[in-house]
């Protein structure tokens, strides 16, 4: 519980403790009841039959799903690695002094943060080939993901730079560095440390975006699942298993983000440069490590 809510809640007295115990028991029963009902209904419709689930024990299906998984990972990592430098580039454009550069950066970021990824993928798959731009399937899904995520990453980088106290930039200019030298030697290294958890969280978002390879017929995990359902007629089971796979991977990545955040906050330089105020409202608090919105858009 956060410190605010901890302060607000009094230490529960005997009556409150009893109330909490009753509420605990009731809610436990309710939850158990709902789960039991759901599972029972599921079994009734015959979906828990062993035959339907046994396909997952065959090495064939497992290899097939594994290939889909590998493709998903490939797509995620490649898109991430390309989007990263692009994101830095657009962030730098937005931070530049030159008006045209700033305008370019802002235009790109604002447009590509607001466009649905599915639309971009459909554009690459359906609208561009007749015009001659016919990329291999992998790039048909990779390029749209890169375009969208570069915009979001640019925003993350910019938020990282803005989260640093202004004193850092002022001091570097005062000792004679040019703007870009200050950026390269002082600002960026510190801001990267701030935003690494946010970057890992954006990776989670990227992985979720990879499911749109479905629309491009790229054999990533969801698409592989689709082929599997056509082959084995076990629609629900396959989708349940796939969803679990996605959730578990993303949970691991989020955990990694949290571990990174804790590590970095422990080793970082103390609050010498921070403005006063309670912990919660330092500028650093604005660069959240977690995904604050579907799609990962932050700090509009």
């Amino acid at each position: 519980m956060s410190s605010t809510t901890r302060v607000l809640f009094d230490e529960p007295g005997p009556r409150a403790r009893r109330q909490i115990q009753v509420a605990t028991a009731v809610s436990l029963l309710a939850i158990a009841g709902v789960i039991y009902l759901a599972v029972a209904r599921f079994a009734d419709s015959g979906q828990l039959a062993a035959a339907k689930w046994s396909i997952f024990t065959t090495p064939l299906v497992r290899t097939f799903l594994w290939e889909g998984f590998v493709n998903t990972m490939k797509l995620t990592v490649v898109s991430g690695l390309i989007a990263l430098p692009l994101g830095i580039l657009f962030a730098l454009l937005r931070l530049a002094h030159n008006k045209i550069a700033r305008w370019l950066g802002t235009a790109y970021v604002e447009v590509f943060r607001s466009v649905p990824l599915l639309l971009l993928v459909l554009m690459f798959v359906l609208a561009l080939p007749p015009l001659g731009v016919n990329l291999p399937i992998f790039w048909k899904i990779c390029v749209p993901i890169v375009m969208c995520n570069a915009a979001i990453l640019a925003e993350i980088f910019r938020a990282g730079v803005n989260a640093l106290p202004k004193g850092q930039l002022e001091a570097s200019l005062a000792i004679g560095l040019t703007y870009w030298q200050a950026m390269r030697l002082v600002i960026f290294p510190q801001s990267i440390r701030l935003i690494v958890p946010a970057l890992v969280t954006q990776l989670v978002s990227l992985l979720k975006d990879s499911t749109l390879g479905y629309a491009a017929s790229f054999p990533e995990l969801l698409r592989t699942a689709n082929v599997l359902t056509a082959r084995t007629h076990t629609l629900i089971q396959v989708y349940i298993v796939i969803s679990l796979i996605y959730v578990i991977i993303n949970l691991l990545l989020s955990y990694l983000a949290r571990v990174l955040e804790r590590r970095l906050n422990r080793t970082r330089v103390s609050s010498a440069g921070r403005e006063g105020g309670a912990i919660e409202d330092t500028p650093v608090g604005g660069v959240l490590p977690m995904e604050t919105a579907p799609g990962g858009a932050i700090m509009r």
Partner: protein
Amino acid sequence: MEIVLSNWSPLLDGLWITLSIAVLAFVGAMVIGTVVAVMRISPVAPLRAVGLVYVEFFRNIPLLCLLFLVVFGLPDIGVLFNLYNSAVIGMAMFSAAFVCESIRTGINTVQVGQAEAARSIGLTFSQSMRFVILPQALRSMVQPLVNVWIGTLIGSSLASVIGIQDVTAVGQNLNNRYAGGLAVFASIAAIYVVIALLSGGVGGWIERRVTVLR
């Protein structure tokens, strides 16, 4: 361009569906998200667990996967919604997780001193929440909530994959029938961008209105 101009009627229908799904989903998300946020800070442990599981599950599952589960998985548990409702419910549950996180973050940005001061002048829990904490929290929640709204709007385009004729699906149909597909898709992208930018602008205006100048 002529394709877009001569087909503005189906495009408008699609746009209406997109907006209605997004708005309904967002409103639903706010309601569910508030409930889940309350569950997460409640002293009752099972409710806290349910809240945690809910948020972790719905933040980490791809939206497309979730929509498939809702459309094809729920009926086997006995809950059958038509496609439109499935899309709304799926998106609402998805965005609710983010709303919940925004609410918790918003409450966390309120300084501890405010809560302490509220308690020390004798306000009860609900009174402190109502008069002191929540108004300040809501101010810092505007930004993330606008982002959730834009995320919901953009995510609603996935409804076209499960067969709903939203503006993305209409674009696909037009592209099937006529040649100049790029213009159609570009116009639809422009529609999304305009709505998103407008929302961002409105959000910024709301935030400026509620900011307390110190």
